[in-house]
């Protein structure tokens, strides 16, 4: 591919690409995100390839493996263009029929369409599915229509349009002004205004400055950044190039988790393609501006998501945070001014430059502008990635987009902000989602994990779970964090195992306060949030564990008892077979013999729940 040396050449290339693409020509897109990969999209792709290869008439029908569409619950997802008919849970054997009926004749296939959960009506297109309807996909929307490994696809949808605008029509200060006006706040969790950060970095005295993309997405239950980097890496890259120009940087890094192999691969491909086209490297588009990006792979340490730890890791050191008496925008990577933003923040930049801050700032609330991508997971019907305007209520996200709680169970709480966040109870479901409101109620925006919990989730157990995570991931530098998380975990373990007293709660609150106040970085600073927020909103559940030695959600094993109801038992013997410790005795009923109802020996029972799961007649009861 030829190197572009002016805006005109880029626009010419865009025209050429668009001319080659007939918008009426049918093509098939298959979601290739990790969620769909896990449900077997690759076999579906192979099946389509085979069908397209076999049919001579299929000449010209395109097949595109795209990034994540977001609706992971219904994967593998297939969308047929130009009608945009969406098929869900597609199997390889459906490929011939889809080709024959939909691609050739334009007809929908009933049983592959999404069915409205309440009306039962079949829904044809992606945008009419309730999951997508309330979303506003300005950052994530292109994921479903482009092949992330083809720069042409990104250019065809208007990609790299903001870059020449920034380079040739705006001064660096004007770009910063625009980003400030749009009030873009850091999407990695902190919510710090990006424009202000850029300005500070730009004015720091140094010849060399760095821009860094934080793709060390470590929050369990959150995978928005991965899906962006996997599905639309050029949008992140374009944001970084514009940022680098505004800040006055010639070198950038993408620090990405090595556990995300596809993201590592796709951002690498994107960088090479951008270099080949002259969108990275020396004299970008003939502007005289020079910038290049390197990829740095993380080593699986949660704390490296913290800016100073991340920079230490890029330098080839142990990822320990340092005190930020001098901010990283003044002295960061290799003691040079460094500007770090998260994946989603960077992806917002081209949109702001292209469409303008005035347009952008119409979306959202007073203090939080634009959209936010959340990963909506846990006890919710429609698991997936959702992009919503700031200010939408939690209720709308969980019920309208998420489709409510599965199995007719009762909603209990929603957890946002990952291990640094907190749990929000039912009573606050109408809370508008924005940076400040979430912090007010003791949680935080975080990077965008949103875990829905129902009545079968024990809040004490959940707090223990997060504390277990944090005690493992604490780097150990600050005593308050290293020991604080450990002791809080011990106290929570005591409570879940029946040794808790009311003093435990007081001690947890005190320890939480000390840990937050005395630790250097945000990991320790926010570590007590899961504990403090569950105590704040679910104190009764703590008390139930401590005083009545009971776990209302039937999760904590110390309080759990399995029992077989002899009048319901059909004497099939399935439970005894499933029991790994031979704790169940009885006699299987056969045609010849009468059988004896099964029962559990409590002394031997390890409470693994295998009998409960194996019984088809609900004869095993958990108390």
């Amino acid at each position: 591919m030829r190197r572009l040396s002016s805006t005109q050449e880029l626009e010419k290339l865009r025209d050429e690409i668009l001319k080659k693409r007939d918008p009426h020509q049918p093509f098939i897109t298959v979601c290739g995100g990790t969620g769909c990969h896990a449900s077997g999209c690759h076999q579906v792709v192979d099946a389509f390839k085979k069908v397209l290869h076999e049919r001579v008439k299929s000449n010209g029908v395109g097949l595109r493996v795209t990034g994540c569409h977001g609706f992971c619950e219904r994967g593998p997802l297939v969308v047929i263009h130009p009608q945009k008919i969406m098929y869900q849970r597609v199997k390889p054997e459906d490929a011939p029929a889809i080709f024959q009926e939909t691609v050739l004749k334009g007809k929908g296939i009933e049983n592959l369409l999404y069915e409205h959960p309440t009306t039962g009506e079949k829904i044809n297109t992606e945008e009419d599915v309730p999951f997508y309807k309330k979303q506003m996909r300005i950052i994530f929307g292109n994921n479903g229509s482009i092949d992330p490994t083809q720069i042409e696809d990104y250019i065809a949808v208007g990609g790299y349009r903001a870059l020449p605008k920034a380079l040739f029509t705006m001064k660096p200060e004007e770009i910063i002004k625009e980003v400030k006006k749009a009030n873009l706040r850091g999407r990695g969790g902190g919510g710090f205004p990006a424009g202000l950060k850029w300005e500070q970095c730009r004015s720091a005295p140094s010849e060399i400055r760095y821009v860094i993309c934080n793709a060390d997405e470590g929050d369990p239950g959150a995978y928005m950044d991965r899906s962006l980097l996997e599905g639309n890496p050029h949008s992140v890259l374009e944001g970084m190039i514009i940022g680098a120009y505004a800040i006055g940087s010639r070198e950038g890094y993408v620090y990405v988790r090595n556990e995300y192999p596809l993201a590592v691969e796709n951002i690498g491909i994107a960088i090479r393609q951008a270099r080949d086209l002259g969108l990275l490297g020396k004299n970008i588009l003939g502007s005289g501006f020079e910038f290049d990006v390197k990829v740095s792979r993380g080593g699986g340490a949660f704390v490296c998501g913290e800016s100073t730890a991340l920079m230490a890791s890029i330098e080839g050191n142990v990822g320990e945070p340092r005190a930020k008496h001098i901010h990283t925008v003044i002295s960061g990577l290799w003691e040079r001014p460094s500007n770090l933003n998260n994946v989603e923040t960077w992806a917002n930049v081209p949109v702001i430059i292209d469409r303008g801050a005035d347009w952008y700032s119409q979306i959202g609330t007073e203090g939080s502008k634009g959209t936010k991508i959340f990963s909506l997971v846990g006890k919710v019907n429609n698991t997936g990635l959702v992009e919503v305007p700031m200010g939408i209520s939690l209720r709308e996200i969980v019920y309208d987009i998420g489709g409510g709680i599965p199995g007719g169970k009762k909603f209990k709480a929603i957890q946002t902000g990952g291990p640094s966040g907190g749990c929000i109870p039912e009573s606050l479901m109408d809370l508008p989602v924005d940076f400040d409101r979430l912090t007010e109620v003791g949680s935080m925006m975080g990077s965008g994990g949103m875990i829905v919990m129902d009545e079968s989730t024990c809040m004490v157990d959940l707090a223990k779970y997060f504390m277990n995570f944090l005690k493992d991931e604490s780097c150990g530098k600050c005593t308050s964090c290293r020991e604080g998380t450990k002791r809080m975990h011990e106290l929570l373990t005591d409570i879940t195992e029946g040794r808790g007293t009311m003093d435990h709660i007081d001690l947890l609150e005190e320890l939480g306060w000390v840990t937050a106040e005395a630790s250097l970085c945000a990991l320790g600073g926010t570590a007590p949030n899961p504990v403090l927020s569950t105590i704040r909103y679910f104190r009764d559940e703590y008390k139930e564990h401590i005083i009545n030695k009971r776990c209302p959600a039937k999760v904590c094993r110390a309080f759990l008892k399995y029992r077989i109801l002899s009048d319901v038992c059909t004497m099939c013997g399935r439970c005894a077979k499933a029991c790994p410790v031979e704790a169940i005795s009885g006699k299987t009923r056969t045609k010849k013999e009468k059988g004896i109802p099964f029962k559990i020996d409590e002394q031997k029972c390890i409470k693994c729940g295998m009998c409960f799961e194996s019984c088809k007649f609900e004869a095993v009861e958990a108390q």
């Binding site: 896990a38 959150a222 556990e259 792979r297 080593g299 997971v377 846990g378 959940l462 499933a578």
Partner: protein
């Protein structure tokens, strides 16, 4: 591991000291662990004290100093999997294999690990074995899933008689 193979990796990164993390990752990917001899050789070549290399190798979760089993099992312990009962899956693995997370079976067939999130929350609880995903797991499905990877095809714990 041949020293020429290590040289080839170092060369990719132009021998830069700051690339130590990337070099260790490539070594780990190749050998599935970091052999002591390789680390010593690396230290000499890059003029990095061995204690610094060990500090890095033990700080990051991605590295192992012990050889790994033929099959690597990752039980996802992400929050979404946790609320759907991931702990029970981990316990059942433990029971079936007789090893705890981080350990390898005596026959070197399995290494059991837990991970903080695999990011395939829609399929939770999830287990990945050698990168292959097994979604919507339950304690009851553990035995059957493991069977596909057992070297001697011997039956699991539950096949008592």
């Amino acid at each position: 591991m041949e020293s020429s193979e290590i040289d080839a990796i170092i060369k990719q990164y132009r021998g830069e000291e700051s690339a130590i993390l990337a070099i260790l990752q490539d070594l780990q990917a190749k050998e599935k662990y970091l052999p002591k001899e390789a680390l010593e050789y690396l230290g000499e070549k890059l003029h990095i004290p061995l204690n610094k290399i060990y500090r890095i190798a033990t700080f990051y979760r991605a590295f192992s100093l012990k050889p790994r089993g033929r099959h690597e099992i990752c039980v996802c312990m992400g929050t979404a999997c946790h609320v759907r009962g991931a702990q029970r899956i981990a316990d059942q693995m433990n029971l079936q294999l007789g090893i705890r997370p981080g350990e390898t079976t005596e026959d070197q067939n399995f290494t059991l690990e837990t991970v903080n999130c695999l990011g395939v929350c829609a399929a939770g609880p999830v287990v990945a074995i050698d990168g292959q995903y097994f979604g919507k797991m339950s304690p009851g499905k553990v035995e059957g899933t493991l069977k596909k990877f057992r070297s001697d095809k011997k039956e699991g714990l539950n096949a008592k008689a």
